[in-house]
Symmetry: C2
Subunit: 207 residues, 2 copies
């Protein structure tokens, strides 16, 4: 209660020296998301604690809880970010093609580029699902992401003139998943190419 004399001068100078204008930096939210994205993906949701995240983000613990409310919500935000990033990547890849057949196969090109990235560790949704109980936020976001992929395959198959577009889409999802998990488990990037080749075979057979 008594206003004790604090060494505010030294504290101020230290803080001021380390602090750059807020407008020049990413917001605490963005830095938290970036740190969470790296750590959660690299080591798993359960393994990584709050303290490691705020340390990497250079953010106070209170900021995390003011922004996200709980670790669970941070996990959800992390997965939603992964989903939109994947959407962007795939969309960018297939936008480079005009022929329906190439657009469909382009999804596997996008997958190949993802797998070939350094630090690839499989599908973030599959990984997160492996360590979370059913009915949680992880399941919800995963379902959204997977429904988007399936719908995209069906749409591209239909545009390519496939009669049973949803049937082919189911097969392509099979390949997509298989390539992703195979690449992770066997530490090889070859699966995406193999999946693309099989997809070509199935597409020809479905026409």
């Amino acid at each position: 209660m008594a206003p004790t004399a604090t060494p505010s001068a030294t504290v101020r100078s230290r803080v001021t020296a380390a602090t750059t204008p807020v407008s020049d930096r990413l917001s605490a939210r963005d830095r938290l998301l970036a740190a969470a994205d790296e750590l959660f993906y690299e080591e798993g949701v359960h393994t990584v604690g709050i303290d490691r995240i705020i340390e990497r983000a250079g953010v106070a613990k209170a900021s995390l809880y003011n922004t996200f409310g709980s670790k669970d919500e941070l996990v959800r935000a992390y997965l939603e970010g992964r989903h939109t990033a994947r959407q962007a990547r795939v969309t960018r890849f297939i936008a480079g093609y005009t022929a329906p057949r190439e657009r469909l196969l382009g999804v596997f090109d996008a997958l190949a580029s993802f797998i070939a990235e350094p630090g690839f560790r499989g599908c973030a949704f599959v990984n997160a699902s492996a360590e979370s109980l059913p009915g949680g936020a992880v399941e919800t976001v995963s379902d959204e992401s997977r429904a988007w992929t399936r719908a995209l395959f069906a749409e591209l198959a239909e545009a390519a003139g496939v009669a049973d577009a949803t049937g082919l889409a189911a097969q392509l999802v099979l390949l997509y998943d298989g390539a992703m998990v195979g690449a992770r488990m066997d530490r090889t990037a070859a699966t995406a190419l193999a999946a693309r080749a099989v997809a070509e075979t199935l597409l020809d057979a479905a026409l």
Copy 2:
């Protein structure tokens, strides 16, 4: 230090009542493995603590550490058990067929029966890998298990008269993985059937 009077009478009667002859029960090791298998598979390796395992096994904590030495070793034993169980299931399924083609497709029948089981939660190795760092025991056992599957597919493909047996094996592993992870993520058993159908197509194309 002073030999205080303990209520040994009450303790003895309680213990004796709850204790059945050792020869009638499973060993502490087997009960621990059974409990670990259920809990690790259902909820994940990281989520489940030692205390929950010994409670379900009805075993003292010291017995766990005398038998396995560490939680990591228990995890390894759990995965090795999963591996041998999978070998047994697949072997049993394909033993029912004599024609090479049916034997190859029988692997997917075994997969279908596994996926259809209540409590199916995906591939134990994929799940465990999602929450463990590279270079550990999980990776070793996973590699063994996946190498066995791949070799089996190649062997069956060769027996079926496929020229590029290892090439087809790679495709079949793709389907196997895809069906497993797809069934887990989408909570459906239909993927195994779809994978079997695609496998048939690929087998015909490879002959």
